[in-house]
Assembly symmetry: C2
Homo-oligomer: 322 residues x 2
């Protein structure tokens, strides 16, 4: 035990609705996990108190907090340099929230915090398909599009801690292109997120009379999952929607390759469940759009971490670096 007195880390995946805590060992095995409702705590101090209380039983099981090397938090608008959450649109805590410091004080261990996509990149590098890679780009395809960029084995945090917002590069510069939650128009996120897929579905259904299984659903209720189920049943319009999504994502990744010439892109999140429906047009579009000198260099991979655990594993992996 001398050499390995602190064999565990804590990961916190802080989402707008739920907060999942996990205790993880060095092989990436989750030894225990627990969750609280993020929205139930309008005061962040109450949130931290509730989180520590919820964790206590699983901390006891592994032999107490002395066995824990550190804690990592993946949170929206998380700044690695300051350990704060800054004006996150999906959280009720406004302004600058020093969440890393609050957990440090409550637990007595070092705590690191970054945004969820950066945490996912560290998780992929520590436990997933990017093990051994020094240059890769993680793209998270959920409600939004996030990214974590690794160069020379290090996450890129940039001059202010907020680098890696690839969901907000502009893919459509035409006037009147899709409005993004960030206030800009035509962002990658408006096309290649789960909500982007649903938007594409509504647009295509509106502009054609062709039959589709998706017409059985009220347009405003269509989800990316509905589209993928319809596509698997052979629905032509549903397949077109994923083709368009893959084309946009491939074109975007081709531009990202011009930046850091990564060894791989790793895709994570709900949309990747569509599998080849997404990955085939993505690969084709990437090959067509990438600088010819880069063609064939980067692999396009789906995350090796299972969805439910990946976010907690990613956050926990930050704890090893403390």
């Amino acid at each position: 035990m001398e050499n390995n007195a602190k064999p565990y880390v804590i990961g916190l995946d802080l989402g707008g609705t739920n907060s999942v805590f996990g205790i993880v060992d060095q092989r990436g095995e989750i030894k225990g996990s627990t969750a609280i409702k993020t929205q139930a705590y309008p005061d962040v101090n109450d949130y931290v108190k509730a989180g520590v209380e919820a964790m206590q039983p699983i901390i006891d099981v592994i032999g107490g907090i002395d066995k824990v090397k550190g804690m990592g938090i993946g949170a929206p608008n998380g700044c690695y340099y300051t350990g704060t959450i800054e004006n996150a649109a999906n959280l009720q805590w406004k302004g600058s929230i020093p969440l890393a410091k609050l957990f440090e004080d409550a637990l007595g261990i070092p705590v690191a915090l970054t945004n969820d996509a950066n945490a996912a990149a560290v998780g992929e590098m520590t436990y997933g398909v990017a093990r051994g890679m020094k240059d890769f780009i993680m793209i998270t395809l959920g409600t939004g599009v996030g990214s974590g960029i690794v160069i020379n084995g290090q996450v890129v945090y940039g001059s202010d801690g907020f680098a890696g917002e690839l969901g907000h590069v502009t893919m459509d510069r035409k006037p009147g292109s899709r409005l993004c939650g960030c206030g800009k128009h035509g962002c990658l996120e408006t096309f290649c997120s789960a909500t982007g897929v649903a938007r594409t579905a509504r647009e295509i259904l509106e502009t054609t009379d062709r039959p589709s299984l998706l017409r059985d659903i009220d347009p405003k209720d269509i989800t990316s999952l509905d589209v993928s189920i319809a596509a698997e049943k052979g629905d032509e319009i549903a397949k077109e929607i994923y083709e368009f999504t893959g084309e946009m994502l491939g074109a975007a990744c081709a531009d990202f390759a011009a930046f850091s010439s990564p060894e791989a892109f790793v895709f994570f999140g709900g949309l990747t469940k569509a599998g080849d429906l997404l990955m085939k047009p993505l690969q084709k579009s990437y090959d067509e759009n990438v600088l010819p000198a880069f063609r064939g260099h980067a692999k396009l991979l789906i995350s090796g971490l299972s969805g439910a655990e990946a976010a907690v594993l990613g956050a926990s992996a930050l704890g090893w670096e403390l």
Copy 2:
């Protein structure tokens, strides 16, 4: 002299036409320089021999090669990892040219090689406006558009040594957009290089009957310098051309900020001589297009190194890192 027995570095700015060698001290002062014609040597071995011969007098002046710490080369398609030039379109040497090794053998000192834009970035960080910065993006606006990206104080070379090709991100995805030398369509380079400015001039002159000083020039002979001279004389069309160029460049830089959230963008090369004609619409477009959370973070700067010396200084700066 004990602590500083090798107080000089050699820089080589290898262009398609000319090759300029300079010996530089630690303050960035060029102690001597010489040049040979790149095109005069179909065999690269003859080129290296001629270069070493041309340098001999200036090496003698500073006390011999023993006073030189290392040599840096900025060359098209230069790969930092291998020290080779790979299939450069503008050079007559085909295939993979081990130029760093050839100069190492001929001079008996360590030699590093990278592309010209990466060399410019190192130069700017060592001697220019980026001194003290750890995160910035260098954009070179010459015949083409090149880039050198610095993150955490290190140039980004990527998984293969060729990262930082920001001139080839796609700015115009419409079918039939401008064909780029790389084989793709709509690349940033087709708009924001010197040749891109001339293309914009021809397109605007063709699609309108409005008077312009540029109509005195045969369209195929119009250069970016002609446009900037006309603009300074108050020519409305010439001003529009630079506005369009600045808008495109600002929109591109806004996307680059989403990648690495740099402290500054540093612009270098012929087009920057247009000054505010370019920089004002560039700044305006950057502010309009950047992710609102990043607004006001990055400075847009013109290189602090004089054009004639900058490329040699940049290349030489690599020599200090050996």
